[in-house]
Symmetry: C2
Subunit: 221 residues, 2 copies
């Protein structure tokens, strides 16, 4: 049994008091992973972006809105957890300076300055220690081979143990088309499956990696 | 019994294949209005932005994503309807040119050019004829008097019969704080009420306006 930190949902990056940048993430992937982890007896910290669907009652839910809030919650919980699954669709950019007022149509065209957001899994990866880290890579490439190569680069640069490469079809829906990549071996083609089925495979992979870590951690003592 | 065109939910204005501009509208207001209208025997065309909640089964639902799509659907349905209730939280701006690729963090800061979207109720107002038109005005002013003055200006410039002024608290939630303004008379303070209660008052107002229209239309023959 492990304590698992799961990020879930989109983030919203405020333009003003009403408008924001976001994406179509419904939170279904993170919720399915949280439900599967809980069903297998794990403890779940769910850092949850703004979604309509209800989170599982047994999860410890930390609601957040922006990437900055999600990062802060993750940095606080990370030391307490043995595994991290970054299933949130975090916005890569945010407005440089949110407006205090709501700009109206009559004010005409304007240029919104966007700045890069921190990469949450990359930041947690710097403090990884004896933990299992899992990420997702949205594949927009037409070519699968190139998409999987990019996912593997992400896995390496963020010090992940597992990465799920998923197509755009996974965003917001009940199922998606997935590949699972580990630190070694060929990509595992999961095909088009439901998010709970993906979660079963993923939690199994995390559990195996946690078992592999244990002896190493024991040797270190 | 009337055929009523109701717009509902937010719109999404694409930045690229993944990201968009939007707001926190859950669609609860438009759905509650549609349910109330159907319960009172009206026929409902529901032009529906992307939301998680299910629309009523008896409504004729036209799903749309962007303001441009919502406007096109409204222009098509408007001639067939006797009343229009614009409950959608339409984005006032859209990116001038959506990107084909997804820009990455590594590409650094950038400036996104935003251009004003068409004002759907204003455009329909130009073709109003013998119809009842209802809009909403989000009040961001600290001062209620100033907010109501702005709502009344909107009512006049868009040729509306009724306008609901609502606070930011109404966005996404189960209830809101509302004022109802007609073409004459003082604003009606509805206070903080549920969205179904607001809908009852609103459909009643529309029905009364439709009754007032009838004799005028008959006289015109």
């Amino acid at each position: 049994v492990a304590r698992i930190l799961i990020t879930c949902g989109p983030t919203r990056e405020a333009i003003d008091r009403v408008r924001f940048l976001t994406n179509a993430s419904s939170g279904r992937t993170g919720l399915a992973i949280a439900e599967e982890a809980l069903a297998r007896g794990h403890q779940v910290d769910l850092v949850l972006g703004p979604i309509e669907l209800p989170p599982p009652a047994q999860a410890h839910v930390v609601p957040v809105t922006s990437c900055a809030e999600m990062l802060a919650a993750c940095l606080r919980l990370h030391p307490l957890c043995q595994a991290v699954i970054g299933a949130a669709a975090v916005s890569d950019f945010r407005p440089a300076a949110p407006l205090d007022v709501k700009r109206g149509r009559e004010d005409g065209a304007w240029k919104l300055e966007l700045v890069p957001n921190p990469d949450i899994l990359a930041e947690l990866g710097e403090k990884k220690g004896a933990r299992v880290h899992v990420g997702f890579a949205l594949q927009l490439e037409a070519e699968t081979a190139r998409a999987l190569e990019k996912a593997r680069e992400k896995l390496r640069s963020k010090h992940l143990d597992w990465i799920v490469a998923n197509g755009l079809d996974a965003l917001g829906g009940e199922e998606g088309t997935y590949f699972l990549l580990g630190r070694s071996g060929p990509p595992e083609e999961l095909g088009r499956i439901g998010k709970r089925a993906l979660s079963r495979r993923l939690i199994e992979a995390v559990e195996n990696s946690l078992k592999d870590l244990k002896p190493r951690a024991d040797q270190g003592r």
